[in-house]
Symmetry: C2
Subunit: 421 residues, 2 copies
Amino acid sequence: MKATIITIGDEILIGQIVDTNSVSIAKKLNAIGITICKKLSIGDSAEEIVAAVGDAMQESQVTIITGGLGPTKDDITKHTLAKMFSSKLVYDSVEAEHIRTLLARRGIAFTELNQGQAMVPECCVVLHNAHGTAPGMWFDGEDGRVVVSLPGVPFEMEHLMEDIVVPRLKERFELNDIVHRTLITRGIPESILAARIAEWEDALPDYLHLAYLPAPNVVRLRLSAYDVDRESATADIEAAFDRLHNILGDNIVGLEGDSIERHIHDILTARHKSLAVAESCTGGSIASKFTAMAGASAYFHTGVVSYSNESKCRILGVDASLIEQHGAVSQEVALAMAEGVRGVGNADYAIATTGIAGPTGGSEHKPVGTVWMAIATERGSRAVMRNCGTDRSQIISRATAYAIEMLYEELKAYNNEHNNA
Amino acid sequence: MKATIITIGDEILIGQIVDTNSVSIAKKLNAIGITICKKLSIGDSAEEIVAAVGDAMQESQVTIITGGLGPTKDDITKHTLAKMFSSKLVYDSVEAEHIRTLLARRGIAFTELNQGQAMVPECCVVLHNAHGTAPGMWFDGEDGRVVVSLPGVPFEMEHLMEDIVVPRLKERFELNDIVHRTLITRGIPESILAARIAEWEDALPDYLHLAYLPAPNVVRLRLSAYDVDRESATADIEAAFDRLHNILGDNIVGLEGDSIERHIHDILTARHKSLAVAESCTGGSIASKFTAMAGASAYFHTGVVSYSNESKCRILGVDASLIEQHGAVSQEVALAMAEGVRGVGNADYAIATTGIAGPTGGSEHKPVGTVWMAIATERGSRAVMRNCGTDRSQIISRATAYAIEMLYEELKAYNNEHNNA
């Protein structure tokens, strides 16, 4: 079972938006056993839409289209699809009433343009968009092929996929499973890793496909199985990953979804320990990572973004003379920040960052990208310096990742000692 | 001048990664006057690559391909392109030496797999990748058509585009300009907005294309001009936006790139005023938004993520009895947090958030998504409650946006009074 995803909109082609809709649709289709053979983005042009949808219907049983369903003149998807399926637009009074109600709730008048949104191709099945004013549409083509048109607003598309399109596809087609599992490794470069696991790779069952996904300090290994039985494929993948654990040991972080902060989240929650963070150059980014996870309030109580010297002294109790003597970006100040926030936050563990995020503020001795990070625990505190790159956003995200990794190492070391004791 | 962008990798088709490479490439090509007619993502399959590149070369003068150039078995782009251009792979000793040096600097051994990375199709121009081990490749096809293959690692691709591909394309082709300008409006729904500016829209010069880009509370209006002279098109667009200011007044936020936090950044910097934030449910996300901007340290000194009641009392000085009486998510606590952080941070302006980000913790009276946000200034303080949705990440980002908007309103009100006085 193959599908094509087509996203429509000039804003995609000129790079004005990042297309996350196709990511979400791909995941949802994979989850029910439908393989995406192609993703395509085209502009708001009738000619392009006709060509792309026509090709997609040749190549795949399911075509999902997003975008171009708004009320304004630049949105032409609906008219184009109606023509393609030799159908005329008709007024759908149920949808019209829904749109009127939705707008009234927000205190917005129902205009002629909204009335146009209630016009739908006569031949399609209207997919009711409970969260927006543009209905989705389901077209049945030849040989049981399906074309679905959805609005481009992400959460409207999400609900339509989840509530209507996925159930209808499952009903319509007999689908086998697709299974993907990804293991995260760290600290081994891709080429070395590939050599080290070559034998393991050769011994994989033929139907399991291995992919390497490299990123700084991390290589993700994905095993995929298409058109299979979920249970037996999952068992084979898990067995393969078990064998990999014997080869790579501590270089394995865990399964994807298990980010390092997720591991820390689990460890701190289980051990009933708390975390405080003091951030200078990372500016709230470390706190955000933890608080983004539901349940973080169990261990995360306090973050301080101390962006000025005064704030470092006043809130964290850093000694002003330390800053004077060593500068705000120094081992001494990083340590004092970690210890300070551990105290003021009454926490078991504390991490701190202080660095030069740039683009200005660097010197020969401390160039842009210099970041000191520190950890404080009941066992004492320590700090390390790392160069985190040259670009401001890169520096912030790397410093965030390194500081979180420092905490993870500490928690793992504790666990190891504890388990060996 | 048309281009097609092809991104290769199963990880894109299964929705494992968000494709930002094509966004960046599209922007860079638009900036030199090349229009993207299609973006395509396909899997690591020789057959698919041959078909996609073949089609792209029919449809456009320039084809840019990313991905599939790693050292491992799943990367087949290079071999496939060599075959397509009837060329054999040859060893490039300059690239080999570069790869060896790059790896040595990181303390990594040069393996057989890395040696494979120095093999390049004989017919191509090798594009030296100063930041990575996979060189880019430039192929000259029939009729002056060009195919460029780049590594998928974003910053390696970025440097190759910027340093080598863009200059070469400018040299090779005579290019006219493409101009895009986007104005951000807020507070008017798309359909109402379209009706209100219909006359303005009809009066636009034919060669300017208008697009509506709606998002919650915001509609962006983009004017695009293709194959033009940059200066005169820019002048026409600016004149059109000026006329729009007369129609929409305060509902215009400004040009894109001018985010609301960017406006605040500029206002506070110019007025030498400072900002402190106290965050509960937004968990550091507001602080991150400001500290992401270079120069934020001029006005942003202090953020406190007070995720627990104790932390709200201890660091911000919130009266524990307020929390007991009204709950942590209440008007009273939001106000006390804003006033508290304004004091402890010694700031002119302070904003605070406290809410229920979910998925648990909601009640009938205060459902998940309930967020109180407050602002404190020398003129006093005030708080508002807003429902920010149902999904944790959505709640965090909406609460962040609303709190920032509240500050913006305050600064604008001050400016208006000040200017009228």
